[in-house]
């Protein structure tokens, strides 16, 4: 049985990875997946090559939580950081797996 969920994706500077994951956990997401990416945007400033380029993190969440997470990301990071966030519709099996951990 498939259920409609939201996939929220965040592209951020590498130094922010831990902070973003903590933010997600505060919203009680059941999990997250991350990968290293490179890219260019309108700011394009990163702390240093030593820290690596960007990180892209996504989480699958029930639709009710999605907006709150996106707004939280916006509030924390939009002013001073190179951060992009967007959401997509997805369908998952086993919806109970993605409830509070």
């Amino acid at each position: 049985m498939k259920v409609r969920f939201k996939k929220i994706t965040i592209v951020a500077e590498r130094v922010l990875q831990e902070q973003v994951v903590e933010l997600l956990k505060r919203h009680q997401v059941s999990g997250w997946t991350a990968q290293n990416v490179t890219g260019e945007g309108s700011r394009g400033l990163r702390a240093s090559e030593w820290e690596g380029s960007n990180v892209q993190i996504y989480t699958l969440v029930p639709e009710t939580v999605a907006d709150a997470i996106m707004e939280d990301i916006a509030r924390h990071y939009f002013e001073n950081w190179s951060v992009v966030v967007y959401s997509q519709d997805v369908e998952v099996l086993r919806p109970d797996k993605y409830q509070h951990p």
Binding site: E13, V15, N36, R46, S48, E49, W50, E51, W81
Partner: protein, 318 residues
């Protein structure tokens, strides 16, 4: 003059240059990120081991005075840098503090290049110098960050945690401890890897650094001439302070020149991450361009010979 050319015509410096040229002709050359990070881990650990072994042969009273001098440099140089950046550089308080944090800390590769240059002249710098690199790395960042009120405790302590548990300081201190505990003799087994291969591995690192610096240099225009001038003015001032402090604390001519290079260099490993976290409002383009695009090549080419010359001259006076 021949000192200048001799300083540039080394594999290490030429590899840096090659990286800059490769960037300039838009080559797709680049070290994979994993390699680059792997080599930095290797370099920092190797420096630590070597310094630690030397430290284990150094009586405490010999090391104490230079260590205190280094600590003082670490506290003083961000203050000087901040003042200059505000007054002559016309930076905002936040940007000035962010840049000052970088000059308060130290560039490990500049340290290495200075050591090489000094040894090529036949001087014998103190073996415990890598330990001073570890001493100099952290305090300057902390002092500089105190110039601005950050948004509360939390981001401050995060930045502190970032510096202290950052890879570079952990590897340096870890290497120092291991080196000191094992002593030179027990390190013989790992010498071919961490010792003999060191300068070659450094070449690869410099190649990548050249590529990065080349990119920064291309963006340098945006930073404005006034700022670029600061990237050339700060090293001699802080480097002079370093040389003087070294000689005053009883270090050799060569060691003082190296301490000068350390003081006159700007960190691009430990500092940027910490500053980004503590002062996100500061513009990274400013401090990265200055540290890596201007000051680092300046020191490689002109700064190091200058500090050696200063040390020699001052030493005769004293």
């Amino acid at each position: 003059m021949s000192l200048l050319i001799d300083n540039i015509l080394t594999p290490v410096v030429l590899c840096f240059l090659m990286g800059m040229v490769a960037r300039w002709i838009k080559s797709d050359l680049s070290l994979p990120e994993a390699m680059y990070q792997g080599i930095s881990i290797y370099l920092l650990l190797a420096i630590g081991l070597k310094g630690g072994a030397a430290l284990s042969d150094t009586p405490l009273h010999v090391f104490a005075k230079p260590a205190i001098a280094t600590l003082l440099i670490g506290m003083l140089s961000p203050v000087i840098a901040y003042a200059m950046l505000r007054k002559f550089g016309k930076r905002t308080s936040i940007d000035a503090a962010a840049i000052a944090a970088h000059y308060g800390s130290v560039s490990v590769v500049t340290f290495l290049a200075a050591s090489e240059a000094v040894k090529r002249l036949g001087l014998q710098p103190e073996g415990y110098l890598p330990a001073l690199v570890a001493v100099l790395e952290v305090p300057g960042i902390i002092v500089a960050l105190m110039f601005v009120r950050t948004d509360g405790e939390s981001s401050w302590s995060k930045a502190l945690h970032e510096v202290i548990t950052g890879k570079s300081i952990v590897l340096l201190i870890g290497g120092l401890c291991i080196g000191a505990l094992c002593g030179t003799q027990k390190l013989t087994d790992v010498q071919p890897f961490f010792g003999a291969a060191f300068k070659g591995a450094l070449c690869l690192f410099m190649l990548e650094l050249g590529l990065v610096a080349g990119k920064r240099l291309r963006d340098a225009g945006r930073a404005g001439l006034r700022l670029l001038a600061m990237g050339i003015a700060l090293p001699p001032v802080l480097g002079g302070l370093g040389v003087a402090a070294g000689l005053a604390s009883g270090m050799s001519e060569g060691g003082s020149a190296i301490l000068g290079a350390m003081a006159g260099s700007a960190s691009y490993i430990a500092a940027p991450a910490a500053v980004r976290i503590a002062l996100p409002q500061a513009n990274p383009a400013y401090y990265l361009t200055l540290a890596l695009g201007i000051t680092f090549p300046f020191n490689l080419a002109l700064g190091i010979p200058l500090y050696i010359y200063l040390s020699r001259t001052l030493n005769i006076w004293l």
